[in-house]
Symmetry: C2
């Protein structure tokens, strides 16, 4: 164990956080669990922190970034699929008719997902995703997606790691959509990324083993799937959890109901000017039940507008 | 990165390995991938080693230890299940008639597995397994199971870790059967254990969230499932792999066909006196195809009788 991790909490380097309840609560928690001999001390191997991704570490508006990826991929693949012109939900998507896409329901969305995510090796998909992140730009900010991450949350990840935590992503997004970029964006290596997945199958191409991505769902890492995913991949209960929507509710419940000191954090999207403002009524990132129960459960709300002096690194 | 990991290979501390081809090949590989500036140098984050468990890290005779656990559990639970006296495969098991159990086929085995592994929370199962390992004894050696591990392989795990490797278990055995004991036995933490699993489901007991173990198969981490499991849990291809049976064949293929320096190791059970001698004809741990292809694939055979001067730590 590096000596630094056993000492008292490293001083907080959270410059994008305004002084206030949220920052104080975070620093107080980290100080307590890292103070040797203290009542709430937690050994380094058990200092595990889990973070939702969409809406918690990066923006999820005007749509989930993976949905924007699907949109771009369908357009890129359309020349090879002339039949899509007359086939829903592809036809609507190609015409830019998002209401038409939505009308195809979950079945339609899954079809779009499979057409763009399956039928290739894991390595081929990795390259497609890597290339997309290198070239695609966010529709509102006209910047690469790795700049649409929340600077205060990246500071929080760094701060926790400086205090001996291992940081994991636990997202409803695709595990192989995230893994090619989480190291660069967040300092989180692939083995600490948990997400939804389609099945993969071992096969030989000639004499070379590959893993083929198949068009069937393997695991949905959302809602009650999040504690299941954490238990499956990590095998221990984290002590710190951050989310922003009701899709994180069960993960918040499961993590914060463990014994000893626990911390639950909810990013509340309150800044319609610098980012977006939404909660109980939102189609994307709906935050209702978890918002209602936050006070009684002791979950710390982060008021994006009041608590963060910068949201993105590109802001002045 | 700890400075020690970036330096040349730490000197090999493999006292239970006799000097010979196997030991030389291991030390040569570790030296090459850890020599900075060398052609085969591998950065620390990519130094990932995967190990099968049954027959590779511990003995798998006279039967898989998890099968022996099932046997003990059915007997312990029998008083609560009077109906088992007349129901196969429980009836045969309770009479000690293993041929009768085998006659029930895979369906019967799954039934025994579910009766002993499902219908309880993950925490309750963890306690059952922990208690079993604390009290059960191996039928031949009359010692706790944590002593029936291969000392040379534990030295190898330590040696790799001293050289910046992260060591993972990739086993056909149950993930939650292994996790309670791999840290103590092998120095491998729960998040570095990949195995077969049944589904778990988030639910509330009163107001307390728990994960219930359900009687349905989630994932079979054997044969072609091993590369799939590695990709799912780790998200990168290891550079070192150790196995002992055809159940490790696809994992050996997939790991050793990656680019750059790779090492494939096969533990060959050749010592009928100190352990067991078996390979191509064995019902448990059959090693046939992988043994045939080892020379052409460049996989290093470890001849247990010739290469290991001690098998278990309790030997004089």
């Amino acid at each position: 164990m590096p000596a630094a991790f056993a000492a008292d909490a490293q001083s907080a380097d959270l410059p994008s956080w305004n002084d206030g309840d949220a920052k104080s609560a975070i620093v107080d928690f980290v100080t307590r669990v890292t103070t040797e001999g203290g009542r709430d001390y937690v050994a380094v191997p058990d200092r595990i922190a889990v973070f939702d991704n969409d809406g918690t570490l990066w923006t999820e508006q005007p749509n989930y970034f993976q949905a924007l990826f699907i949109n771009d991929r369908v357009k890129a693949l359309a020349p090879e699929h002339p039949e899509w012109k007359d086939k829903e939900p592809f036809a609507s998507l190609l015409k830019g008719d998002m209401a038409g896409v939505a009308a195809s329901g979950e079945k339609g969305i899954v079809e779009l997902g499979m057409a763009t995510h399956a039928g290739m090796t894991t390595e081929a998909f990795n390259k497609i995703v890597t290339d997309w992140f290198a070239t695609a730009r966010h529709p509102r900010f006209d910047r690469p997606y790795n700049e649409i991450t929340f600077l205060p949350m990246r500071e929080l990840l760094d701060y926790l790691r400086a205090n001996g935590f291992r940081t994991y992503i636990v997202s409803g997004g695709g595990i192989e959509f995230m893994r090619p970029m989480t190291e660069e964006m967040y300092g989180i290596p692939p083995e600490q990324v948990i997400g939804s997945s389609i099945t993969t199958r071992y096969q030989l191409e000639g004499d070379t083993p590959v893993l083929m991505r198949e068009p069937t769902v393997d695991f949905i890492d959302d809602g009650p799937g999040k504690p299941v995913g954490i238990n499956k991949f990590i095998g221990r209960r984290p002590i710190f959890v951050a989310g922003n929507s009701d899709g994180d509710y069960e993960m918040l419940r499961w993590v914060t109901s463990g014994p000893g000191a626990r911390f639950g954090l909810i990013v509340h999207h309150t800044d319609g000017e610098r980012e977006w403002a939404y909660d109980r009524q939102s189609h994307i990132g709906k935050l209702d039940k978890a918002l209602t129960e936050a006070p009684e459960r002791g979950w710390q709300l982060v008021d994006m507008k009041a608590d963060w002096n910068r949201i993105y690194a590109f802001e002045k």
